[in-house]
């Protein structure tokens, strides 16, 4: 074996193992984050964390019940506002669209998907907070809803397009008109995929902090109403982690563990169960 060949072969082995190390580093980051959060947050997680209001500054204990409820309310608003628009828009792209307008919509959706979340926060601020003159749960919900739309829309479209022609033609042959065909054949056939997209989009905005800072703002107590500011898990984590108190830091870790747990469990369950098996063969 010539020296040149030996060099090429060892370079081969070296570089290929280097790519393997890259994967190892990337993958281990997730397990590291998870482990570190469980280690740090687990010990301060108790039942009262889920059922109590935050303790006054300087006092031990307390919980984040208001933040958890606030996050759920914001997600509900985001789903009510964002999912119908995304879903119907996706149906339009897949089933009705002509040529120019769908292109504009697709492009806009991809663009909106890339807009930094803090800019979406400014948008919701201008749209809801400025006319109302105060921060509100509603404004936060609008901000998150705007972020949900493009993901749901593009995802719905891609799953609808994949529904085979034969199913549509079967429906037409049975005498269905177009909207009946869509509502009773195409949408049910793609429902698992669409559901996956909706849940993943909601899981993504569940962890968003930036657009809530000046829309939903924050609240030390239960939010009195939809038109009033509310606390939310991500914002509380931010406030507590950057705050000066040792006890706040502990609470931030616990809240981080809860948030990450919720997001990861949703992701894993959704991907494992909903994408498995569609009503038709995916290509």
């Amino acid at each position: 074996m010539s020296l040149r060949l030996a060099w090429r072969k060892s370079l081969n082995v070296f570089m290929l193992s280097l790519t393997g190390i890259c994967v190892l580093i990337t993958v281990s980051v997730l397990f590291f984050i998870l482990g570190y959060l469980v280690y740090n947050g687990g010990k301060d997680l108790s039942w009262s964390f889920f059922t109590h209001l935050p303790a006054p500054v300087g006092e031990e204990g307390g919980g984040m019940a208001n933040a958890i409820l606030g996050s759920l309310k914001l997600l509900l608003l985001a789903a009510l506002f964002g999912v119908p628009i995304g879903l119907l828009g996706g149906v339009y792209l897949a089933e009705f669209g002509g040529r120019t307008f769908p292109f504009i919509i697709r492009y806009t959706a991809d663009l909106m998907n890339g807009v930094p979340s803090i800019v979406i926060g400014i948008f919701a601020y201008a749209l809801v907070v400025m006319p109302m003159h105060h921060f509100s749960t509603l404004a936060g919900g609008v901000a998150l809803g705007v972020m949900v739309i493009p993901t749901v829309l593009r995802n719905t479209e891609s799953f609808l397009v994949d529904v085979p022609r034969s199913l549509r033609e079967g429906a037409f042959a049975m005498g269905a008109n177009k909207w009946k065909m869509i509502a009773t054949v195409v949408l049910p056939a793609a429902s698992r995929g669409i559901m996956t997209g909706v849940l993943l989009a909601l899981a993504r905005v569940a962890g968003e902090t930036a657009p809530l800072l000046f829309t939903a703002f924050g609240n030390r107590f239960w939010s009195p109403g939809w038109d009033q500011p509310t606390s939310s898990l991500p914002v509380v984590i931010y406030t507590y982690a950057t705050g000066p108190y040792e006890d706040w830091h502990k609470q931030a870790w616990a809240a981080g563990l809860v948030l990450l747990g919720m997001v990861l469990v949703t992701n894993i369950l959704v991907r494992a169960f909903l994408t498995r098996g569609t009503a038709y063969e995916r290509t």
Binding site: L11, N12, M15, L16, T19, V23, I25, T26, V29, L30, I33, Y36, L37, L88, G89, V91, Y92, E95, F96, P102, T108, L111, M112, G114, V115, P116, S117, I118, V119, I122, F123, A126, L127, F135, I149, P150, L153, N177, K178, W179, I182, R204, A206, G207, E208, T209, A210, L213, F214, I237, Y238, A241, H249, W253, G256, L259, V263, L264, I268, R271
Partner: protein, 329 residues
């Protein structure tokens, strides 16, 4: 009870209404219009977003003009605003992130696309997708309590001892600063580089690899000299996409960059970024000019990511289309 033709549901009622429903096109057209309205709502939101950013930043735009981008004072009390330190901080942290994340992401993508068996590849990609789903405030949390102390006590002194002759590795170690923010960003964007690069690599036809191997190339040579060059435009696309993410990333950066509007050559010094100043000062902005200046920063951020995303999508489209044989290569 008189029924007007308008009140009847078109599809169900025979007789004179039939002509009306036919002219109207019936339920299909109603469905068409409803879905069209939903789709148009998204476009409306996007237009409204740009319009509001433009209108609400008017005061700062007319007062400062282009000076806004070259002035480095940020003095809310005196009403004097310049965007330079924030633009600088945003660009520097994003560049640091790219320098660290691109080799890592592309390397990992090569392993997953070229070496790993399909089952392993898809499960590892799944882990990487989960990493992309971790909320940014969690990265910030780990950044503040884990990375910042390690940077201060270990990494920054070590860099100073070995590469201290470079101006970017000078100055006191605070732990927080451009370098730390860049490192957190790097971890956050690796999954994006990885998943897009992997897709692009997988789109390169098999026969290209086999031709190289048949000519006696090693696996690495076929990958590095044939597959990666063929996929390079798409890989650039993934880099732009990741850059756009990094520029707009808010929470993790806000928590570790130091929040100090200064321009410094050293990566160890605390700085500020556009997204971070928005997160910190927006809800406390007093006075219209202050708010307007902040919104102009938002506009700048929007335009930056808008351009980068457009470019990235174009590049990825070109490569994957070529790879799948739609366009002649």
């Amino acid at each position: 009870m008189a029924t007007t033709p308008n009140a009847a549901t078109p599809a169900d009622i025979p007789g004179p209404t039939q002509t009306l429903s036919r002219r109207w096109g019936g339920a299909d057209d109603i469905a068409h219009v409803i879905t069209l309205i939903a789709a148009a709502t998204l476009v409306l939101i996007a237009v409204l977003l740009v319009y509001q950013l433009w209108i609400l930043s008017a005061e700062a735009r007319t007062k400062f003009g282009w000076h806004f981008f070259v002035t480095d004072t940020w003095d809310p009390v005196a009403g004097d605003f310049g965007a330079l330190p924030f633009i600088y901080g945003t660009l520097v942290t994003s560049l640091v992130a790219l320098v660290l994340a691109v080799p890592l992401g592309v390397g990992a993508a090569i392993f997953l696309a070229e070496l790993a068996p399909p089952k392993l590849s898809s499960s590892l990609t799944f882990v990487s997708d989960l990493l992309a789903a971790v909320p940014s405030v969690i990265y910030g949390l780990l950044g503040v309590f884990l990375l910042v102390p390690v940077m201060r006590t270990t990494i920054q002194p070590a860099l100073k001892a070995t590469l201290g002759f470079l101006p970017i590795f000078k100055g006191p170690s605070y732990g927080i600063g451009f370098l730390t923010a860049g490192m957190v960003l790097a971890i956050m964007i690796v999954p994006f580089v990885l998943s897009v690069s992997r897709e692009v690599l997988l789109a390169i036809p098999r026969d290209q690899r086999e031709a190289a191997l048949a000519l006696g190339a090693t696996k690495w040579e076929s990958t590095w000299k044939v597959v990666v060059p063929a996929a390079r435009i798409g890989i650039f696309g993934s880099v732009f996409l990741a850059l756009a993410r990094a520029l707009g990333e808010t929470m993790a950066v806000t928590m570790v960059i130091g929040n100090n509007p200064k321009i410094a050559a050293s990566l160890f010094s605390p700085g500020y970024s556009i997204a971070a100043v928005l997160a910190n000062e927006f809800s406390e902005a007093t006075g219209n000019l202050y708010l307007s200046a902040l919104i102009e920063l938002g506009l700048v951020l929007f335009l930056l990511t808008f351009i980068l995303n457009g470019l990235a999508r174009l590049l990825i489209l070109v490569t994957t289309a070529r790879g799948s044989g739609v366009l002649p290569s």
